[in-house]
Symmetry: D3
């Protein structure tokens, strides 16, 4: 039995059930998932500035999961807030959905595109934050573009059609103009769109949360976790919050 | 139920049972493994010249697996013979143990070392062949060294002690001199040595066959396979064997 | 006197005379060329899957050439099938037309484009196979694009005009849109088009077969061949065909 | 008159005076420096885990500096905690001492070495954290090594001799073994050692705090700050601390 | 008091006053600038061929500046003629305006565009010469495009409006099409246009001469100069001019 | 008949005959060589500072060669002085011995070492100048080390034994410690040592002058020269010498 804690690093519990529903269909029979949100931080992570509000609570939630006997942890936001710090602090495997999706994208083709949601004003930060991670994880040479739906989230409420149409447009341009052979859906998505991408465009589409689930389960089963020669344990000391 | 065909791309069946035993302990409950060797090729793959004898039979065995209803295929040699051709020909996911182990090594640290077996005379080809794959898969920047036991296989018959001692020596040098934070065991290894590496050196050790098993199971569960915009189906034509 | 064996790695002899005619005008006075095709493989090499059918016969033909006293070998297909294996097995210099043309392109400018023939359906594999070689030979940073005529070969029978027009279109776009300063004609081409490219677009155009001829003649005259610290001789062993 | 806020991102004010004294000798006549520490965080930043305790207070202190009319901000720790987030939030130029020192090192030679303090147990995290920044700032190809004194800070109390001797040893090895042509002193150092490095080893030594001072003054004088197409302003929203 | 010699490496003194005026507003209070042109060379540096006419006089002028007690030298042309040679010969810091502007561009964003002046026929050499420097200084990965106004200089005499309009067009395309987040004005420009770029496009624009001034002043204040392990002094010998 | 001008870019004619003798044995039957030195410059090129004295005369000699009906030009010094400028100015192919030797080294293996002559004091400049060229030509990733004999030239007069012994030592270390599979002899060498390297160390050794001869002959025969989209002709203008 593998017990995995899934941390949605925002201060609202409203996505927890949907998150669980989205990934549960992909878990192995003897995996058990517990999805939680955090107490301090923001309602959404739209810039690095938001991340520093969320990182401490995220890492502390991960620490608690290890103490509570969980076998692995998933940080469920594409920007992987607090991932490096948690890798230092924890002995059990911990993976971010951004990190995991880049690894699976790399295994399926040579050139992937990341497609994000959010309004046009967020785009510069989305591109930079995606490349920050691509550089840290070493996949910069495999990412041919970062694209965005560039429509305010508010406009999408109850309007899944528009979102899906825009997503298909960007995915098609990624394939035809940028030469992408894999699509990474860089945010939470409705079920089923990855099949449409695969069918209509002939390229696999990665759902980051599912990628992280498979990466985490795999590491648990292999008995492996982040290297302590790369992510050494933090020394004991007073830390003032 | 996921049915996975494991192809040991050599012309002897003598390693099949040991291979199955080695990886079976890591499979998910509803995975079923079938391990086979090939009819034409060589007894071991020690150079690219050997690979071209083995590739066609390997790919044809993979094709047969797909026709027979298998859900995924693993090519069980670190040099991944025929992997690109099989990715073109097959619709189901296929992974090589070299490819899979580099992906998991990448997920656990920043700098891995590949340790191979075989005599010193094989070393130049081992290094080049490892880098050929590192370049193709895009992990050259994460590999800090390729090392070898540099003892003839024949001397190791019934002498597991010497092999293990030499392996620990090379792994220690990889960590201390090359700065490796993950070890990839670039060949078939006895069980248990990866635990000794982990305990004594503080770095995770990847068993390639296990890495491939988890990668293949993950892809099957995710409903994903190699991108057909990267590995398009071969056209119909006459091919003379 | 330098005797060079040119291997056209397809199972038809129909291109041998044309191949000889195309490159003979560029040979040095005391070079002697022998152009042959192979017995087993395919009629054309359109994917990696085709290559694994052709590699063994190609390498064995190269081995025979060395035994027969040839001084050098050329593998006459842009994908260089079996080149690495042959470099291991042979002592005499052996070069592929893809490999040689990238080296000469590198010497004439900073950014080259490879233009291939074949229908649009082949394009994904053409791009990937070109990049596979660019990575292995270390010229990825110098290639700004891989382009294709994207017309079925069948439509070109007796229609050299269309082919030439399409080629000029792609070459022009390579220069004007991609910034290419050298064009590599990534397949067998009619004589003369390279002059038109040079005159109309102001960039040199490399004919791969000619590049390989000059590379092979040069190595023979220099008394050099592939490094045996990179391509060591294969060990003696039984190999089952 | 340029007013620069220097933030020492630790929860003790004991280094503030020494910091001011160290860099003040390098300021331009009409620069005014204000050195402060932070309220929440840790006493020293020895791992990424420590950084997430310090980032929020650091960025909030930077925000206050902009509100208070400062013209520029320096984050005075080699790991540049909160730098990206602060670059988003602020309009005035803000620089980290790690970031600035890499830029000046790049301008003076081709290959620099970073030398850190701290015990051997910190070394894996020091190396990784240095490379995290090198990747983010784009200087990975110019850093030939990260070295450490590998002596506990406690042993250095009142023992500047040992520290200086060890530093000179590491600097010498950096030059002679790693080929470094510039030394970056990756932590707070006593005055004068950079002159000894320059005189005895013939390479410039960068004091990060001084580098940041000159970078910050330069940007203020040029009327420039971080690009808002790279570091866009965070959207307004509730953030729970 | 810092005395800086600014060498405009052309054989006309007509730009000296304008150059001084352009950068003087950015100098520190106790900096003193002396702007000179050279005796032998060309009236403008439009290709590498022009550079070899100008390099010797440029370096000799720099040598004279050191003998005359100057504290630093700036070579005031974006192609930095003679910079490497002068770095070898001099002990005092010397910087080129191309080199300095790339370093500041790197500090303000992730992706810069260089915009040059001159007619379309110069464009191939401008691109290549910019990349030559980007490679030598190690900023190739941060430059997303080199653009040119592509209008003959002669047409711009007394027509600053056209030049500014074309510049704004290219800057806008750099940002919107190439994703640039910083603009480097790769030639001498009228005052004020950098503010328009900043205001209308939201990206900082670097004036190379100003960047070099701040880099040079900073190095002088830090007591640093080019590494002599990278740029060793030339040996004494006869040199025939 | 191919007429090639070989320019030895030093102000002494004493090496001309030896140079001709060294490479003549490698020329094709209908190649004619003319070896000349230059009128202005230095007696040897030991730093970039020396190069700027030699470049103009070198390029002007190349221009004269084209006017005199030569078919190709070789610049016979490993630092390739004036090569870029000459590529702009000339229509006929021109190659430097450094450039050509890197291309042939690339064709024979994956990792080459450059071995230079000269005293230890020259070493920093030798390394930097070699890397300057490696970056410009795009072979930085294939060069594993630059080594030097580190003995004053004066000590070698009449002492070929010592030079050869030191060269073999460095070549052996290049292979065994740096993993080199090809040796580039980065300066003028006595005949025969390349055979000893090949025989004793099993790696090919490139003689740069011979490499340039074969590259130049090849380009002439192919009817190709440097791309004018990369090296455009300099505009007409007054140039003051």
């Amino acid at each position: 039995m593998s017990k995995i804690k899934v941390i949605v690093p925002v201060v609202t519990a409203e996505w927890n059930d949907e998150t669980k529903k989205m990934i549960e269909g992909y878990k192995e029979p003897d995996t058990e998932l517990d999805v939680v949100s955090i107490e301090k931080g923001t309602g959404s992570l739209e810039c690095t500035y938001d991340e520093i509000y969320a990182e401490l609570a995220t890492v502390q939630t991960a620490e608690a999961a290890e103490r509570d006997g969980f076998d692995g942890v998933i940080i469920y936001c594409f920007c992987d807030p607090g991932l490096w710090a948690a890798k230092e602090k924890l002995s059990i495997p911990i993976t971010g959905i951004g990190e995991a999706s880049m690894h699976f994208a790399s295994a399926l083709g040579n050139k992937f595109t990341i497609i994000s949601a959010g309004p046009a004003s967020h785009f510069p930060n989305q591109v930079r934050r995606a490349y920050d991670k691509l550089k840290l994880y070493g996949f910069q040479h495999k990412c041919v573009s970062v694209r965005s739906l560039k429509i305010p989230v508010i406009d999408l409420e109850g309007d899944k059609k528009t979102e899906e149409r825009r997503l298909m447009e960007e995915a098609r341009q990624a394939v035809e103009e940028d030469g992408a052979d894999v699509i990474v859906l860089g945010c939470g998505w409705m079920m089923g769109v990855e099949e449409r991408i695969s069918k209509e465009l002939g390229v696999p589409a990665i759902i980051p949360g599912v990628a992280a689930l498979k990466m985490c389960e795999s590491l648990i089963r292999m008995g492996l976790a982040q290297s302590k020669r790369c992510f050494a344990f933090p020394p004991e000391k007073e830390r003032i919050v």
